[in-house]
């Protein structure tokens, strides 16, 4: 194994090993556990930085392991992989801090943090997967490692949600398996980053390729919460707040979306997929999800549920951007992968703070809450305004490029979808902000014994403030050389040519 390959393996091990040790530690040893968690998170971040610097210098990192002839596991560091793995690592670090504060008094933390670490290993594995079979491997493992997190509380409701979650994701995985195997039969081993494998298949198999594409979308669409397949996501809200945050920002839903990006960009290739007329149906599906998710969000009074439906809607921006088939729109979509993650994790952190500190779960209970928790609500407002697309927040940059891309590709209806969606976003986020900031307090909150000088525990307060800051920063500095947008431009440059 070369040094570059070793780096990739180390990136995975830096959270896997702490996870395994945490399982072996006794329940009571909190300090070693926290140390391992944070140490692993910082180490991973460091290694990711080394990788990114390497990529800037034009180096390639890769490692493979042959299972059988024609079947090998491969890790690879193309720019898209770097984008997603950086996002996961940064947000994991923040979520770990948050989770340590959030679960301070609760039982069974060993299991929680053990699975939490392994879950991030798997997510980064998805990001770094160098071929389809490796992607599938980690994609399936993600189902397995997130289940104990979703059902962590062990209540009847949590178990029911877990059951629904497994039923959806395992079925999706089965469909995906058929698609992967079928494509391998037609095209041989499918690697990412090279010329698209599907485009090399003889034209006589066109019909099969079309069927396979939709099998892929159906399989990945479950985790990406495309609309007829999104049923598990709002139910999975019973999970503890850090899990919801991670699930909605990086781990599960992003794995599905990331897979769709891989399929469109690396397996089929945009020109080939467009030639087979595959992208228009995908764009329509995404548009439906955007509108439907927003409409459902309007109806919900439960804060976390409203945020969940908002996720359904926002994720499809990414898919829409990829399926418009133009470089600018693809940029908007890809950069939203990062931006949505930042904004959504902020919102969930804040929702968790409200629930944990004041026992507030419903929007109707939130009148005047900003006076009690100004910092939390300020972060929440930044996230919400970003989601609506106010400049100069992150969401504005995404929507701008999406709109420009739609115009460039001459698809006015996409612009219309974006406009409608923005109105809907405003319709379900602005009332929350108005209630929180400008209405007097009506309901009484159950103060859960925080005597701290701050409005809540500092470990719960710092992560949302940091992510809220990032939401503004990536928007303001979108043109800087180190912004996500710059990185996305690099990816799109490789895909579409300079």
């Amino acid at each position: 194994m070369n040094w570059g390959g070793l780096l990739l393996v180390m990136i995975l091990l830096s959270s896997l090993v702490p996870g395994l040790i945490i399982f072996a530690l006794p329940e009571k040893s909190n300090r070693p556990r926290t140390f391992l968690n944070l140490g692993g998170a910082f180490l991973k971040l460091l290694l990711i930085l080394v990788m990114i610097i390497g990529i800037y210098q034009g180096r390639q990192f890769a490692v493979r392991w042959q299972l059988l002839p024609g079947l090998e596991l491969a890790l690879n560091s193309d720019p898209l992989a770097a984008l997603f793995s950086t996002l996961s690592t940064v947000l994991w670090l923040l979520t770990t801090i948050y989770a340590v504060g959030y679960l301070e008094q609760s039982p069974n933390r060993r299991q929680f943090f053990g699975y939490f670490s392994i879950c991030v290993t798997v997510t980064v594995g998805i990001a770094l997967a160098g071929n389809l079979i490796t992607f599938f491997l980690f994609y399936e493992l993600l189902t397995l490692t997130t289940y104990p997190l979703v059902t962590h509380r062990g209540t009847r409701e949590a178990l029911a949600a877990g059951r629904v979650y497994l039923a959806y994701t395992l079925s999706g995985g089965a469909v995906l398996l058929v698609a992967v195997a079928w494509l391998q039969v037609l095209a041989g081993p499918v690697a990412f980053g090279g010329p698209p494998a599907a485009a090399a298949v003889p034209a006589t198999h066109e019909l099969q390729l079309i069927v396979i594409f939709f099998l892929f979308i159906a399989g990945l669409g479950v985790k990406a919460a495309l609309v007829p397949l999104h049923g598990w996501l709002p139910r999975a809200m019973v999970a503890p707040a850090p899990v919801s945050a991670l699930l909605h920002a990086v781990a599960v839903v992003k794995a599905g979306v990331f897979g769709i990006i891989r399929i469109v960009h690396d397996v089929y290739g945009v020109p080939f997929a467009a030639g087979l007329n595959l992208l228009l149906p995908l764009a329509i599906l995404a548009s439906l999800s955007i509108i439907y998710g927003s409409l459902c969000a309007l109806r919900e009074d439960d804060l976390k549920k409203r945020l969940a439906y908002s996720t359904v809607s926002q994720l499809s921006y990414i898919i829409l951007g990829v399926s418009v088939a133009g470089p600018l729109a693809a940029m908007g979509g890809l950069v939203h992968l990062v931006h949505q993650g930042l904004m959504k994790i902020t919102l969930f952190f804040c929702a968790g703070n409200l629930a944990e500190t004041l026992g507030v779960h419903r929007i109707s209970e939130m009148r005047g809450i900003a006076r009690r928790m100004p910092l939390t609500m300020a972060a929440f407002s930044v996230g919400a305004l970003g989601m609506i697309g106010f400049p100069p927040m992150a969401g504005f940059v995404s929507k701008w490029y999406l709109g420009m891309g739609a115009l460039e590709a001459d698809k006015m209806w996409v612009v219309a979808i974006l406009a409608v969606s923005t109105v809907l976003n405003a319709a379900y986020f602005l009332p929350i902000l108005i209630q929180a900031w400008f209405k007097p307090q009506e309901s009484t909150w159950s103060e859960q014994g925080t005597t701290a000088r701050l409005e809540t525990h500092w470990m719960l307060l710092v992560p949302p403030l940091v992510t809220a800051f990032l939401v503004v920063a990536v928007g303001l500095l979108a043109n800087a050389q180190i912004s996500p947008l710059a990185w996305v431009k690099l990816i799109i440059g490789l895909e579409y040519g300079p």
């Binding site: 299972l67 059988l68 491997l137």
Partner: protein
């Protein structure tokens, strides 16, 4: 360093020898049983290592050639199955050691458990010798002998528990096993009548389609299907496997049913592959589909843990039969490799499950699935082993089961007969359903669990973990066992071909 034939002879003689001593001197079983298990495992390891150098070969014991002497035919398939038996057998033996000590130590009825232990070891070693003999033998009559020993030993082990339900199940098992052996023996006799030879390699060159051949094949196959418990002939399996003692269940589900399937694979995949019509393979494949569906649905309905695992065996055996038509269709070796991976993965995973279930049973004092909430807190290692083994049964990557299904799926899609592949995928989902039924109880956090007994010793918990982990990473390491397989195509023989009736 000793050569391959030496190890092959050891593999049969050593367990046989220890079985006899254990039987005669039952006071020594606590020491001799585990020792024999280690020696067996060592012989299995030696065999595998020396096979890498020697390659496939035939060996006539004592220099007596067929048809008089006993011939060994050692190829990759035999070696892999012998190695599988060694690994699984050693783990189960370690578990059994702890199991009997615990029960004798804690229960009032020292006599009953002492008795069980005194009979378990000799019979299990005898069974082990017969399994090795079956995998190594070159001709169908010797195989009959080993098959009969396996059947009888398995029945005795089943009855060992002494509960009325176990006795009833053992009786049924005995009848089925004898009926199967009879069918098999008739088939062998007819073959001998037609060709005057029973060596498998030689037969494969002589056979040609003829009415008598069909009759004898039908008899052979029926006998083996009865013993392998293919749907709808599976009725005897769940009660027998579920009511036996925990280490016995692990042996029965992990190894014993594989022995008769190994023969089916030999006969249908090699010896008679040229003459059998494809429709016959389809028939077995369809029955396999039936097994996958019926076994899984029954497993979903069970209330008791061990019963569920037993029905899962019925379902998992179905996969092996679905693979038969694919082996026939596949121009390359993938389908055959896949079956062998599935066999090995299932042996590891299922033994691990039964062992873990045994520990859970002892700790909780019952195995009602719905009342197992929170057992994880008192028995974390075994619960982990159980869930991990279950995950590999679901065919989750990177388990051996996953790789097997992946290969079969590829073959079925490439050959155009995609329905076999779809059936495998449906089977996996159903398996996920019944594994989930248990896992959601095992994984859930509940602060207090009223356990009946003291602690389960590590020697009972870790073998299950070892096997479960092995099943799970088998997919990553598949290149090694399958490399052995490639070296091991059947070898030509010279002496037997001239002997004609």
């Amino acid at each position: 360093m000793p050569d391959t034939p030496f190890w092959a002879v050891c593999l049969v003689v050593v367990p046989l020898f220890f079985a006899i001593i254990c039987f005669v001197r039952s006071s020594l079983v606590t020491f001799l049983g585990p020792l024999a298990a280690w020696l067996n495992a060592l012989a299995g390891l030696g065999m595998t290592l020396s096979f890498v150098h020697s390659g496939p070969l035939r060996y006539a014991i004592g220099g007596w050639q067929a048809p008089l002497g006993i011939n060994f035919s050692i190829d990759g398939l035999s070696v892999l199955l012998v190695a599988m038996t060694a690994v699984t057998g050693l783990s189960v033996s370690m578990y059994a050691k702890g199991y009997f000590s615990l029960r004798i130590g804690s229960a009032g009825e020292i006599n009953r458990h002492g008795h069980q232990r005194a009979y378990f070891w000799p019979v299990w070693l005898l069974l082990w010798a017969a399994l090795n003999g079956l995998f190594l033998s070159a001709d169908l009559f010797n195989i009959y002998v080993t098959l009969e020993i396996i059947g009888l030993a398995a029945v005795v082990l089943t009855a060992l528990s002494g509960k009325p339900a176990a006795r009833l199940a053992a009786m049924r098992y005995l009848l089925v096993s004898l009926l199967g052996s009879c069918c098999y023996l008739f088939g062998v006799a007819l073959l001998y009548r037609s060709y005057g030879i029973l060596d498998m390699t030689a037969l494969s060159r002589l056979v040609s389609p003829a009415p008598l051949l069909w009759v004898s094949l039908a008899l052979l196959t029926t006998g083996l299907l009865l013993k392998t418990a293919l749907f709808p002939l599976h009725f005897w399996l769940p009660p027998a496997h579920a009511n036996a003692l925990a280490p016995v269940s692990a042996i029965l589900s992990g190894l014993v049913v594989k022995a008769s399937f190994y023969l089916i694979l030999r006969l249908w995949g090699e010896v008679f592959a040229q003459v059998l019509p494809f429709a016959a393979y389809v028939l077995l494949g369809v029955l396999g589909c039936g097994a996958v569906l019926w076994g899984a649905v029954q497993a979903l309905l069970q209330k008791r843990l061990k019963m569920l695992i037993a029905y899962s065996t019925v379902a998992q055996l179905g996969y092996l039969f679905i693979a038969l038509p694919l082996i026939r269709l596949d121009p390359g070796p993938s389908a055959r490799e896949a079956v062998i991976l599935l066999i090995m993965a299932h042996a590891c995973a299922k033994s691990a499950m039964f062992m873990a279930a045994g520990s859970i049973f002892l700790k909780a004092g019952h195995d009602r699935i719905d009342d197992l909430d929170g057992i994880k807190e008192v028995l974390p290692v075994s619960s982990f082993a159980f869930v991990l083994a279950g995950v590999s049964l679901m065919g989750f990557p990177p388990s051996g089961g996953f790789l097997g299904k992946w290969l079969l799926l590829g073959v079925s899609l490439a050959s155009g007969q995609w329905w076999w592949g779809i059936m495998l995928v449906i089977g996996s989902l159903l398996a996920a359903g019944y594994v989930y039924r248990i896992a959601c109880h095992l994984l859930v956090f509940k602060a207090s669990f009223s356990s009946r007994r003291g602690s389960i010793p590590p020697v009972m918990e870790w073998p299950a973990v070892l096997l479960a982990v092995l099943a799970m990473i088998l997919g990553l390491l598949a290149g090694y066992p399958l490399g052995l397989l490639e070296a091991g195509c059947p070898v030509p023989i010279h002496a037997c071909l001239e002997v004609m009736p």
